[in-house]
Amino acid sequence: MSAILYMVAYLALGVFFVAVVARIIMWIKMPMHVRWELYPVAHEAGKAHYGGSYYEESEWWNQPRQVSLLGELKVMLPEILFLVALKEHNFKLWLRSFPFHFGLYLVVASTALMFATGLINAISLDILHGALGNLIHNVILVSAAAGLVISWLGALGLLQRRLSLHELKDFASPADIFNLVFFVIAFGVALVTFVLVDNDFSIVSGFIANLLTFKPAALPGTGLASILPSISVVLMSLLVAYIPLTHMSHFIGKYFSYHSIRWNDEPNLQGGPQEETIGKMLQLPITWAAPHIKADGIKTWAEVATDITVKENKK
């Protein structure tokens, strides 16, 4: 029985990492697209605060590009941690979405700490005794408990809002509802497990340590004390595997949405590195069927754009 639990957890982690990597590769391998930025662009040094760009400079192509990584971080970090855009534009939703996401971060952080302590113990580093060990234990305890509580409340709030507002319900697919219900159940069971059985997270910490050392030891306890943590492990594992397979993978997409589209203002200068890629794109064949396109499936973008121009000129 315990071996199955470990198998589920390994499988879930495997699916998660493969799916996340596949998503990242998918976005990276997407073809070059035309520029479609939206201002403010956070890395425009000295201009981002009002939405300005290098196009405000006379002969901008002769000016040095001022790109501020710090400017990006100043926008990205508050956005990731506190969902600033949602707070500004949809406060009622933010009241639910922020605790949900921030709770997730706390749960992820505490899990990462459990992995770290498990790893340190596994390699027999004697540094987690005494004050440091206590501190880490307390941090795990507080962040995991608080994370579970607020994330569960947030998920419940999001579900309530999704089901009670017509404009949200009408647009929701059954899967959208299922996703939130899944969170509510998985985090709810984890919370109950914490309150009734594992109120110092020692069982889950032990399970994670065993995962790291490949020792599929049975979970301690009997009856409810064993069943609840087992159910919790299965549900959390399934959730971990499920998230990157759905549109909830926006934690990956959002990075590319900002860096590759919204903030991508890198100009294509004459003789610069982008011209070669653009040339390749313009050599792709086009098959749009409207008569004015005059494509035949063989002609390229470059041919369709230039050939027709010449023909139209002669008329």
Binding site: H33, H89, F171, W288
Partner: protein, 534 residues
């Protein structure tokens, strides 16, 4: 209020899904705050109803002829699906594939964007105009009919001619201002999806509003300008404008044509030449007085900076951008400078950035920065007191939110308008509202569409203008100036001011940025701005 109750209704019935009545809308500020005194929305004519698809919202933008048989309906639906498939192929849509997939996959359907959309807001929050609706219908079509995905995951939609024709029409109820994208917490872009629907219609089905396609980009490629002017006519018109500007200012003005080796190729929106001749006249005067080396080109399309493809068709877009670049290459200019036209700015500088390479990749610059250079150079003296009237500034979306040109126009205004006379709209800069004429609406007035444009898409801008001047006496004796440095925006603002009779009732007029500059030029005769003319 008549509005769509659920997404399912989009595929059902023959009746319009929504209807806008002024009583459903929020009253405008004084002196236009009496809903019962607002101009009535003109109904569609029986002929229009009989001939064209009009089951969306009792107006028509696209003029899609009604199919004559079930077979034709089926053919058109299949065409749409074929186009939808191509939209997701690298070969046919490398131009927008990544932003498209991003918005298809990651919209959380949270409706945060709705409140940012001036059309949705000013329609009385009519559900049909939610930025998410057309996107969700497209998304469900894609996952059901192209990907063969699960209804459990992606939702369901019935596919029939009503769904397709309504969706195409609904793609023309969006100004493509991208305010929705700006507020999306994830970065989904519903305006982009509206544009992608327009692309399927145009590039696969040959369906587009005639104002932007047949009389727009096609005419520009064929004759040289969507105004219908060929090179002889445009040179004639500019000669007349030069003479008129000389008379008005007392300074001899001559526009150089086809001057090889000039530093600057100036490209106006040719609509300025036809409708607002004082704008190209002012440009010529300022550039000459500043001693710039510049020229206009009489090559095909090179005297008209418009590029309507940017709203609906990537191929038409590329063709026009190439014509602009080819003309610049032929003259051997150092840079192309784009006049007061927002979409021409974005088209040639931002979008064409990934189209033009090699010797066609000639630097492109906004006229606004060139004008600011002129101000800073001190070569022209300005007397602010000549512009002693209230001025507000409209931010064209394409130039500001989509290009980041925010500060220079304000710096110019501060140099030519007395302190305390300039006031910002709320909100402004990159958070501005569209004029209501964006994405082609300003030139689309078929059937009763102009009424919808004035009552719905342009209402937020008119509200902003009125609010900007609320501290002033609202009468004709106290003229007020809306500075709109974009030809399409000017057209829309002109139309809405006329529709509400805003000059007679409130003394509100409009014009460009260069007109304000010349009006303040010390060396020019006073009175360049002609208040009554518009």
């Amino acid at each position: 209020m008549k509005q769509i109750k659920s997404i399912k209704e989009f595929s059902q019935g023959d009746q319009a899904l929504a209807h806008i009545e002024p009583y459903d809308q929020t009253p405008l500020p004084a002196p236009f705050d009496k809903i019962d005194q607002e101009p009535a929305m003109e109904p569609l004519s029986p002929q229009s109803k009989e001939k064209y698809e009009c089951s969306l919202d009792d107006t028509i933008a696209v003029s899609i002829p009604k199919p004559e048989s079930k077979e034709e309906e089926e053919r058109l639906v299949n065409q749409f699906i074929s186009g939808l498939r191509k939209l997701f192929s690298k070969e046919n849509n490398w131009t927008f594939l990544k932003p498209l997939v991003m918005s298809m996959e990651h919209c959380a359907k949270c409706q945060t964007c709705s409140d940012s959309c001036p059309i949705y807001e000013e329609s009385g929050r009519n559900a049909l105009y939610r930025p998410t609706l057309r996107s969700e219908i497209l998304r469900r079509m894609y996952y059901k009919y192209i990907k063969r995905g699960s209804k459990f995951v992606h939702g369901d939609i019935d596919l029939n001619w009503k769904t397709v024709s309504r969706l195409i029409e609904l793609a023309y109820r969006c100004n493509l201002c991208r305010r929705c994208a700006q507020t999306c917490p994830i970065g989904a872009d519903n305006a982009l999806l509206a544009r992608e629907i327009r692309k399927i219609a145009s590039q696969e089905m040959g369906i587009a509003p005639k104002e932007i396609h047949q009389n727009g980009s096609v005419l520009q490629i064929k004759v040289g300008s969507s105004t219908g002017m060929n090179s002889l006519v445009v040179k004639d018109n500019i000669e007349f404008i030069d003479e008129d500007t000389t008379d008005k200012t007392g300074i001899p003005v001559e526009t150089p044509w086809d001057k090889e080796g000039a530093d600057i190729l100036l490209i106006h929106n040719a609509g300025e030449i036809m409708a607002w001749p004082e704008n190209p006249g002012a440009f010529a005067l300022l550039f000459n007085q500043a001693g710039l080396s510049w020229t206009m080109s009489s090559e095909l399309a090179a005297y008209d900076g418009i590029n309507y493809g940017v709203w609906y068709d990537d191929v038409q877009f590329a063709r026009v951008a190439l014509l602009h670049a080819q003309a610049a290459k032929k003259l051997g200019v150092k840079k192309i400078v784009i006049g007061e036209c927002g979409h021409a700015h974005k088209a040639l500088t931002v979008i064409a950035d990934k189209v033009l390479t090699g010797d066609l990749n000639i630097p492109r610059e906004s006229a606004i920065t060139v004008l600011l250079d002129i101000v800073k150079s001190g070569k022209i003296k300005f007397d602010k007191s000549r512009n002693d009237f209230p001025v507000t500034l409209h931010d064209p979306c394409n130039m500001v939110r989509l290009m980041g040109i925010v500060a220079p126009q304000r710096e110019i205004i501060r140099a030519v308008v007395p302190e305390g006379r300039f006031r910002e709209m709320t909100p402004h800069g990159v958070n501005n509202y569209c004029c209501g004429g964006g994405s082609g609406f300003a030139i689309m007035s078929g059937h009763n569409f102009s009424h919808w444009r004035h009552h719905v898409s342009g209402r937020r801008k008119f509200r902003q203008i009125l609010n900007a001047f609320q501290d002033e006496p609202m009468d004709k004796e106290h003229p007020k100036y809306v500075c709109a440095p974009c030809s399409n925006c000017k057209g829309q603002i002109r139309d809405i001011l006329q529709y509400y009779n805003a000059w007679e009732k409130a003394g509100i007029s409009y014009g460009g940025l260069v007109e304000l500059m010349v009006n303040a030029m010390v060396d020019a005769k006073p009175g360049y701005i002609d208040w009554e003319w518009h």
